[in-house]
Amino acid sequence: MRLIHLAFVPFLALAACTNPEGGFNGGLLGDSSSWDDPAANAEDQSDPTSQAFFEKKIGNRVLFDVDEFILNSSAKAGLDEQARWLIDNPQYVIIIEGHADEQGTREYNLALGFRRAQSAQEYLVARGVSGLRLKTRSYGKERPLEICSAERCYAKNRRSVTLLTGGLS
């Protein structure tokens, strides 16, 4: 039992660092399109090593087709860009977050979000990002970006988001 407790230690270390993605509905803050991420905004987007640059210039989201967790070509292209930047900026630890649209039941969509996050993670690893820096989680259909009940909104909600957290320096 105590060994299991020890296994939590790395997470605690992670959490100890100042970063907006703690337990406090953290995923929200990483989605820069609907949330003002104070950290990102505070930083200079022209600084190519900044989180803001990553989110706004590189783009931290890739989208999925309906019921799919396989990456389509534009998702792969997006992840290629992300991978390059992440390799160049090894100071960040990464959480990849999977999401689903509302056209499904709650728990299945949570699991689908996991699959999408996993797909993105595996791709980034294949592109050279160190697996030690990557974690996944899912929000299922709980945190849509767009709230209309139509495909144009659903398409934006089926996504994986790559969040940067400050690593231990």
């Binding site: 337990g23 709650r106 728990e107 949570l110 797909s119 970006l145 209309c148 009940s149």
Partner: protein, 439 residues
């Protein structure tokens, strides 16, 4: 003379008996109706002045409960011929028959200055002109007025229909607020009729799909409290909670109790895949139940604790599978057109409720445990997450409206598909889980 008469009669009857077997005429009655039973609840007698308001309240709750089941219809007081003032007075059956009241409930209520409440009641079958069963007396605290009324209603319901009780029960659910992209959620518990809502958690973290235990004392649910989906166990009385440990602290969701509350089943995530695991609560050790690259989730125990039913997309789309807890291959039981999810085993063991998705619509349905006799009970833009009443007769689920202002609310429907009606809570609610009848 009398003797001769008697002899002839006896002989005749003896002969008669020999032929009696041939004498009955049999008719098969196969036509009928399905209608609510009419009942009347005259004002309950208050044995002391202080009990007057409570007597009125209890009589109204009893009537409302019976009506809410969809199986009863009330004859209003303004149609009464007989005016009853005391519990002890005789029943004027013709007066109740004249207004077509088929059942009558009479009661008297007494309170003491020590906060004790006593209710005595009787049920009458008006057309047969008899009292049904014996009178019953309930005792409790004056704080338990609503529970007392629900117990009375349960007795009437049970005595007349033969169905088990369900009014004196609680439901755990997720109370929602805020806009659709920033929804705030918190666990709550309420009486089956939507009264006495109390919150069990704050709304700082997303919570999902609570499940109440068979003794109504604990709740399992999924929460992002740690930043990642994990499963938690909460005590209803204290609202104290703790996270349940999972293998390597991996992410978990969709936890459900076994009927004996010694084990739980849940979905465990590993490498993007979700499988069903079984955890022994005493040791917190988990064993894997399914291992396939498919999404396996939303498990539910059978009431005898020997099987689970769950959803899996191993066939290419979400379908429902049953599986013995002791281990064996899962057996698919859903074969209709569409996707099947959120299977929930009825407490009676006879049916499995589910969410079915197809043609852009969602429905709540039931099927036998072998998958036969599938019937859909509802349909809308988004119906999901059924839960069974403790007597296995009523299903409650969440219905969400579409669009940016869409929000969920709770609905219930009778197993026959009748009486689909909303639970008017006044604020959005989802993910209901119906607890047992309280002792």
């Amino acid at each position: 003379m009398r003797l001769i008469y008697f002899s002839v009669l006896a002989l005749g009857l003896f002969v008669n008996n020999a032929w009696a077997e041939n004498g009955s005429m049999r008719v098969k009655i196969s036509q009928g109706v399905i209608e609510p039973l009419t009942f009347a609840v005259p004002m309950f007698e208050a044995e002391n002045i202080e009990a007057a308001a409570i007597a009125t309240e209890i009589s109204r709750i009893v009537a409302t409960d019976l009506i809410s089941s969809g199986l009863f219809r009330e004859i209003p007081a303004n149609r009464f011929i007989a005016q009853r003032t005391t519990f002890a007075e005789a029943v004027r059956y013709p007066d109740w028959r004249a207004i077509n009241a088929q059942a009558l409930v009479t009661a008297s209520v007494r309170t003491t200055n020590t906060g004790r409440l006593t209710v005595k009641f009787r049920i009458f079958d008006i057309f047969s002109g008899v009292q049904l069963g014996s009178g019953i007396q309930l005792g409790g605290s004056t704080q338990a007025v609503r529970r007392m009324a629900h117990k009375v209603a349960d007795q009437v319901y049970e005595r007349i229909t033969g169905e088990g009780p369900y009014f004196d029960s609680k439901i755990v659910f997720v109370s929602e607020s805020g806009p659709k992209d920033k929804r705030l959620k918190r666990l709550a518990i309420m009486d089956f009729d939507g009264k006495n809502v109390q919150f069990l958690t704050g709304n700082e973290n997303i919570v999902m799909a609570p499940r109440i235990s068979t003794d109504g004392k604990q709740v399992l649910y999924t929460s992002w409290e740690s930043g990642f989906p994990q499963i938690y166990l909460l005590n209803v009385r204290t609202a104290g909670r703790k996270r349940l440990p999972t293998p390597d602290s991996g992410m978990a969701f969709s936890p459900r109790f076994s009927p004996d509350r010694k084990r739980i089943v849940y979905s465990f995530e590993q490498g993007g895949n979700s499988d069903i695991y079984l955890m022994d609560l005493a040791t917190a050790r988990s064993a894997r139940m399914t291992s396939s690259p498919s999404i396996d989730t939303a498990p539910s125990f059978s009431p005898d604790g020997r099987q689970i039913v769950f959803e899996s997309d191993r066939s290419g789309s979400q379908q429902i599978y049953t599986m013995p807890v002791a281990g064996d291959a899962p057996k698919r039981i859903s074969f209709g057109n569409g996707r099947y999810a959120t299977p929930v085993w009825s407490p009676r063991g006879d049916l499995i409720a589910f969410t079915k998705q197809g043609n852009g619509r969602f429905s709540i349905g039931v099927m036998r445990t072998d998958g036969s006799e599938e019937r859909l009970l509802s349909a809308s833009f988004l119906d999901e997450g059924p839960t069974w009443s403790p007597n296995g007769r009523v299903i409650m689920f969440a219905r969400e409206t579409q669009g940016p202002k869409g929000a969920p609310s709770l609905y219930s429907v009778d197993i026959t598909g009748r009486n689909l009606s909303p639970l008017n809570l006044g604020s959005p609610a989802s993910d209901p889980s119906w607890g047992p009848v309280q002792p």
